[in-house]
């Protein structure tokens, strides 16, 4: 088994360091997520209209749940689709 030193990469694996992901609600102090605002909620939904996971959006658990509730309410009110194609 080669030791760590022997493994050489062709390019530095740290290149293009990923931007630190953060919860935008905690960072900017947004406390309420409006379900009547589908343009804002589109950020948290993929092209098929499905909710994006927390590891992708970077939300904290508390706000991911609020986002989910808001999206589901918007869907009930037909402001967002349940399932579709080419949403974005």
């Amino acid at each position: 088994m080669a030791s760590r030193d022997d493994i050489k990469f062709l390019s530095n694996p740290n290149i293009g360091g990923a931007a630190k992901k953060y919860c935008r609600f905690r960072k900017f102090g947004i406390k309420h997520i409006d379900y009547k605002d589908p343009d804002f909620l589109l950020q948290f939904v993929n092209e098929q209209g499905k909710l994006l996971p927390r590891r992708i959006t970077g939300n904290s658990l508390k706000y991911q749940k609020k986002v989910a509730v808001a999206v589901k309410r918007a869907r009930h009110l037909a402001m967002m689709p349940y399932v579709t194609d080419l949403l974005k």
């Binding site: 406390k31 309420h32 409006d34 009547k36 309410r73 009110l77 037909a78 402001m79 349940y82």
Partner: protein, 294 residues
């Protein structure tokens, strides 16, 4: 006092009057029960994301109200269910953040950056202060505020709140002197200065010095490093001062001729972009073109 918000979709095929009557009926029902209506909003005709009852659009209404107990909400929902004109509804209990959000939305604060909101708040306060004072400045007073960073202490008879923007380093020239009443010279000057300062901050905040013809990105950097961050700063400097700054800074600034920059900056500081553009068309790289050179 509990805050609720109920959103419902009305059938679009009804006539405009009928739709309004429907919304009004629910409004009255709430009032009759003793709920205080905070706001009724007509979101208008919207396309539905999916067809409901074979219809693809609907009129959205949103009523925000307060009620002591939540007892009536279930009754409203029952009424919504029975009404054939209502396609969908949703009632939500609002927490304090939701109430605040709605209030800010009505005031127009949502969608603006925090800075603009604070700036608007300050502007409002200034306006409240200066409405009772005639907004004229004496010729004598206009000479005074040429110096920068002089905090404005307004020892006025009126109840001026002690938050005249002292930390602001920018001091604008007082507006063009108009004959002013001899009395209360200091006060209106102070007010207008403060107001000017506020407005200058507003216009000169996100300043792009490269808008001045003759100033490119390198020159802009050099100026900013020397402390000239707004058009007003630039306007107050003389051409020789600017030349001195450019000489001290790194870079090949020998070609630059800043004679016209302060004048251009004064147009920009006043927000007089049309006049500036017109003049810039006449200028060539920021230099005045004399007829012999053509």
């Amino acid at each position: 006092m509990r805050n609720y918000e109920v959103t419902f979709i009305v059938d679009p095929v009804l006539s405009g009057d009928e739709i309004k009557k429907t919304a009004q009926a629910y409004n009255d029902m709430l009032v009759k029960e003793g709920c205080s209506i905070t706001h009724v909003e007509d979101l208008g005709l919207r396309q539905l994301a999916y067809p409901i009852n074979k219809k693809s659009s609907g009129i959205y209404y949103c009523i925000e109200f307060q009620s002591e107990t939540g007892a009536f909400v279930s009754q409203i929902e029952l009424a919504f269910r029975r009404d054939e004109r209502i396609m969908r509804f949703l009632s939500v209990k609002l927490d304090k953040y939701g109430v605040k959000y709605n209030k800010d939305k009505r005031d127009g604060k949502i969608g603006k950056s925090r800075k603009t909101v604070e700036r608007d708040k300050e502007k409002e306060k200034e306006e409240l202060k200066s409405t009772s004072v005639p907004r004229k400045s004496a010729p004598a007073a206009s000479a005074a505020p040429e110096k920068k960073a002089a905090p404005v202490t307004a020892p006025t008879p009126e109840p001026v709140k002690a938050e005249s923007p002292a930390p602001e380093a920018v001091k604008a020239e007082a507006p063009a002197a108009t004959p002013a009443p001899a009395a209360a010279v200091e006060t209106p000057a102070a007010e207008t200065d403060v107001k000017e300062t506020v407005t200058v901050k507003a216009s000169g905040d996100t300043v792009d010095l490269t808008k001045i013809e003759g100033i490119g990105p390198k020159a802009a950097e050099a100026l900013v490093a020397a402390g000239i961050v707004s058009y007003t700063h630039l306007k107050l400097k003389s051409a020789d001062d600017i030349k001195a700054i450019l000489d001290k800074a790194d870079g090949n600034f020998g070609m630059m001729d800043p004679t016209t920059w302060p004048e251009q900056a004064s147009y920009a500081a006043n927000g007089d972009w049309d006049a500036l553009k017109k003049w810039q068309d006449e200028l060539d790289g920021g230099k005045v073109v004399s007829s012999e050179e053509e």
